[in-house]
């Protein structure tokens, strides 16, 4: 890439140490196509810890129980217990499980630090034979059902894009460091 002095001087003035790796100009403008906001919305389904990307919709544990029996029980067992894959319940209604998480307890949402993780995964990857086929209301309902069975919320709590991110997960503080950082703190290699 050619850098004229005219471009370089303002660049040097603006440059900050954190921005060193960031360049503004394209080097290969003929390669790749721009994406429109509408296109991005059609595939941007990854949901972060704060739930900013959650769509509108709502559901309760009772609604979720029916959907779970139809779509999920075949693999995960009745009420998410003792299925042929991923046991989804630790604790019980009203009694959240708070650890330790060394084995099968890790399989269900009780282990997850953020309330959005189960929503994101069910929405994108479940049910296994037809992932992505659940509507937002169904996903909110299933999450409400699982969180109720795990003792994380009450049976009548409504899960939607505002209430879900506010759910307090029982294992929220079960991770070290509290939030991942990069570069990581200097530690021995075994750590």
């Amino acid at each position: 890439m050619q850098c004229s002095l005219k471009l370089l001087i303002p660049a040097l003035v603006l440059i900050a140490p954190v921005a060193l790796a960031q360049t503004s100009a394209r080097k290969f403008p003929n390669v790749g196509q721009p994406l429109s906001q509408a296109e991005i919305q059609s595939f941007d389904h990854m949901i972060g810890p704060e739930g900013k990307e959650l769509p509108a919709g709502h559901g309760t544990a009772k609604e979720g129980a029916v959907i779970f029996a139809n779509r999920c029980e075949v693999c995960h067992g009745k009420n998410g217990e003792n299925g042929i894959t991923h046991h989804l319940v630790a604790g019980s209604p009203g009694k959240p499980y708070r650890g330790p998480f060394y084995g099968v307890e890790k399989d269900g949402p009780s282990y997850f630090p953020y309330p959005t993780i189960a929503w994101d995964y069910i929405n994108r990857a479940m049910p296994a034979p037809n992932p992505g086929s659940l509507k937002p209301d169904e996903v909110y309902s299933l999450v409400a059902f699982l969180y109720y069975r795990n003792g994380i919320i009450n049976e009548n709590d409504v899960m939607d894009q505002n209430s879900l991110p506010k759910v307090v997960m029982p294992n929220r503080n079960g991770f070290v460091p509290a939030k991942p950082v990069y570069p990581p703190e200097k530690k021995p290699s075994w750590w």
Binding site: G48, F101, F112, P180, Y182
Partner: protein
């Protein structure tokens, strides 16, 4: 509703095929789910780049997992042939992707959201690099008790989720520069196009350092089990970062901790009061003697001890071998190219006198990191050696312990990790 019903029938059929063979979550050597079976004999999608499954590849299948283990005992040098490269697939089938239709998008905290076709990616400046990829669950203490001939010899099923290839593709820095990272874009979330939408978070610092979007492996296009048409290569870091079937890169300002990484890639430890580490990132110094190893037979006299050493931190600087259970260590010869973040072959000349012996290797990397013993790791992490053998074993990951093999007087060799 109709489609739901047929999904349900199909899945029930698939589920019952697996359950018929064993009720455990992992069904070693089980009959393949129908769809996966088809993928094995008639590879999905474009078949010119996919070859038949070599019989010596150890394999394990369950309802939601397929695992292939590299036969470390059989291969020479440092390059794993593509069909023998280990594979951990988090679903029971491979995605069928038409490379002409496949797209890689970059969006989120960027100045110019962009979409790239395969042709676009191949037009851009490329790199080819020799690197290992290793599953974060490789060498798990839990697997030492497994005895399933379908998984191969112990060195294969204990340590065979690590392989080395020459990978070729476009540096992530090139792609991210085209999109223009915003200042607050500090993490990436990566999504694959497989049924399970395998996703992982990656810090931008590592992405710009040496990661690349690979479309080639050992001189040919990626194979379907390795992520055809593209996968991410994150040199020296744990396997799950190397997202296969890569289709979306979203630039964000905090780690997303998606399902896979929250559930599988963190591990609770007694020394942390039962809390779990978020990410391990980089592999530490590691090595294993591949020959002679458990399940083989010894003859008196000269034998070359050979094995592989590697480190996520860079080059292997030294490998030491002990033939007396760790009392004395002698330096092995490093053979062939010594490449950073890649398997390095080591050899050691030995005369076996017919007496009981314990052979093991340890790696020292260019940062001075020394491979620990299992007992040392147990002590650091607050476990006892016995904890790791209990039925409700903790799911220890990120293991780089020294592997001892015991040579018995009759020439048989056994796994002495917990003996």
């Amino acid at each position: 509703m109709d489609s739901n019903q047929s999904d349900r029938r199909r899945f029930l059929k698939q589920a019952s095929a697996t359950v018929a063979v064993g009720a455990a979550g992992f069904v070693a050597g089980a009959q393949l789910p129908a769809k996966a079976q088809q993928a094995e004999s008639q590879p999905a999608g474009t078949d010119e780049h996919v070859h038949r499954v070599p019989p010596r590849r150890g394999a394990r299948y369950s309802l939601d997992h397929m695992t292939h283990y590299t036969p470390l005992q059989d291969y020479a040098g440092i390059i794993t042939p593509a069909p023998l490269h280990f594979m951990q697939q988090h679903s029971s089938e491979y995605p069928e992707i038409d490379p002409k239709e496949h797209r890689l998008t970059i969006h989120g905290l960027v100045d110019r959201p962009l979409v790239f076709s395969m042709d676009d990616l191949k037009r851009l400046p490329s790199v080819s690099r020799i690197h290992f990829v290793e599953c974060h669950g490789n060498s798990s203490p839990a697997i030492h008790a497994s005895r399933d001939p379908k998984m191969g010899l112990p060195v294969q099923f204990i340590h065979g989720m690590a392989s080395t290839s020459e990978w070729a593709g476009v540096p992530l820095s090139v792609l991210l520069n085209e999109a223009g990272l915003k200042k607050n874009g500090t993490w990436l979330v990566l999504e694959g196009a497989d049924a399970g939408k395998f996703s992982h978070t990656l810090p931008v610092g590592k992405a710009l350092d040496d990661c690349f979007v690979a479309y080639g492996q050992n001189g040919e296009p990626l194979r379907v089990e390795q992520g055809f048409p593209i996968r991410l290569l994150v040199p020296g870091w744990e396997g799950p970062f190397n997202v296969k079937y890569l289709r979306h890169i979203k630039v964000v300002d905090e780690p997303y901790n998606t399902w896979n990484e929250s559930m599988n890639h963190s591990v609770s430890r007694p020394d942390l009061g039962g809390k779990a580490r978020w990410y391990h990132f980089q592999w530490a110094a590691k090595s294993v003697i591949t020959r002679p190893s458990a399940g083989m037979e010894m003859r008196k006299g000269y034998v070359q001890i050979t094995g592989l050493a590697w480190s996520g931190a860079g080059k292997v600087s030294k490998v030491e071998v002990s033939t007396d259970g760790g009392k004395n260590w002698r330096e092995a010869r490093l053979d062939g190219p010594v490449v950073p973040k890649a398997h390095t072959r080591f050899n050691y000349d030995w005369e076996w006198n017919g007496q009981e012996a314990m052979i093991q290797s340890r790696c020292i990397d260019e940062t001075g990191d020394v491979q620990p013993s299992m007992a040392e790791l147990a002590e650091h992490w607050g476990y006892t050696m016995a904890d790791w053998q209990k039925p409700e074993k903790p799911r220890a990951i990120h293991m780089n312990a020294i592997q001892p093999w015991k040579i018995n007087r009759d020439g048989s060799i056994s796994d002495a990790m917990f003996a």
